[in-house]
Symmetry: C2
Subunit: 345 residues, 2 copies
Amino acid sequence: VTVPEPSVASRRGGEVEYTDAELEVALEPTHGTPARVKVRYRLIGPAEAPVVVVAGGISASRAACDLVEPSDASRLEPWWPEIVGERHVIDTRRFRVLSFDWLVPTEFVGTGTEDFSPPRAVTTGDQADALAALLAGLRIDRVVAYIGSSYGGMVGLAFAARYPGRLGKLVAISATHCSHPFTTAVRVIQRRIVRLGQAHGLTDEALALSRQLAMTTFRTPEEYRGRFDNTARETADGFQFEVADYLDAVGEKFTARFTADRFLALSESLDLHAIDPADISVPTTLIAVRSDRLIRTGEIRELGALLSGPHYVYEIDSMYGHDAFLKESRKISKVLRQVLNQLSD
Amino acid sequence: VTVPEPSVASRRGGEVEYTDAELEVALEPTHGTPARVKVRYRLIGPAEAPVVVVAGGISASRAACDLVEPSDASRLEPWWPEIVGERHVIDTRRFRVLSFDWLVPTEFVGTGTEDFSPPRAVTTGDQADALAALLAGLRIDRVVAYIGSSYGGMVGLAFAARYPGRLGKLVAISATHCSHPFTTAVRVIQRRIVRLGQAHGLTDEALALSRQLAMTTFRTPEEYRGRFDNTARETADGFQFEVADYLDAVGEKFTARFTADRFLALSESLDLHAIDPADISVPTTLIAVRSDRLIRTGEIRELGALLSGPHYVYEIDSMYGHDAFLKESRKISKVLRQVLNQLSD
């Protein structure tokens, strides 16, 4: 395995050591034959610092925080800029932060001699295996903490179940051990919209609609009420509502940076997720958001009760529902600070 | 105005007098020019009995209860068979029950001489006006109670605001005085799905998807959890979930009995609904379902506090959410029995 040399990015007030690269690893996907796949990752922070893995939702990337000057037009939009970075709770001066792009089946290639078909799906277990292989390739024996939200939390649960010896603590935010049939129903509809669009040359329109639908499950009625007036205005195209303009923006933003196939694979991965909590003995912190309409607090409490190891369930109030991990930086930081301050190494 | 003679339907254990007919009325729609429209209605019960109006959701029809022998293949599916009918709480031996089909813009015709375009939308106020015109045509001066659920409740609020002298009591189940932007968002997406389908020859597929999405807002996670296993089964077409089969059935059932244009018009009517509660002085009973994800209990309490007249808010627990009015016959009957027993005439 060849591991790239770290680069150095300049930041306001200093320099930070980072690697932004890809590493090919060998995997045996749950629903496929042995394969190889390139894992795109980012490692940021001092080489000698303890490693923390950070992972977000299905639309997140390896860019948890910004790397270079914001004027760089090619840069990935950071998804957790108030949590990860210098002077934030996951401080890149204290920790070496590892994050990686989620894998999808079309990225898998054969191991050489035989005919190869991509795996029929990618599972949270596959993502966990990819992380383990990545860590091995990077010569990182152990991470002090894995901090994951939404899909990233589910992958964290899979990683903790499969690789207890490599993990100090797990933090799973708005994540459970298995998908709920109600949530699956909403996602099945999202995937059906996208597939119908794909079959009729309407991929972007359908992907945008599917994302708009997802957004109604991520947020809460309380937030919408504060943001949107519901008086209809009459136009030449009919009656328009303020919230419809917002939905337009949500759809456009998503189709600009995401593909339908990637969405389909990761959405299905959420529904295929199923971990036995009894397999998890690593100390675990679960964060539940009381207003989350996608992952209910009761399910997270249930998960907590089924874990084999020490665990703590934090419940937070928010008007942002499932998106609280992206919006409630102060509340999330408070919990993470407690967890990170108690690290033994 | 010519009013049809009542027919007599035979029922197990007796005979019941009914009229199932249509009556053309004159209307001035909110978003159009003066028009005429045929209102399809059903009036069932003794001619001398006090009249109760019954109205349901946008997919309900004038068939609140069954009229004739169930072997009649052409019959409309009754939508409230456990609430309306002989020996039920809205007893067709004690009351004369009036129900009517919701109007949609394409049903409006001109008054004669001038060029005519159908109204640009139909409002709950228009439906209330149609009911008032229907009552006038049927020589019914006053109804002792209007009992409406969901859209029917919203039309009831509009009727109470516009025609206080013609109404004894209003019961509005899972209905508020205005649409919430969150609910509007979900419905805007439903209409976008249908319009995208219509524009590309996929009307039925899109209407089915839209209904599947609606169903996830009508019911609750608790109900889904009790009904559906979430273990994926692998088939030649990919991974399948039990809840997806249910969604298929939901979509097929709806497209068999509803058209896309009718759905679009009535869905938009829900979002255009806006009544000033201060205009309502008629004694009003509001029923809120605590698990309703579409119309929240807090909004119904708010409506209650803003009404000018005497009112009572009942809150009921149910695992059926917004669909509780269709599923919780025992709990709904209990409240309706109290209201109907207190009628002064």
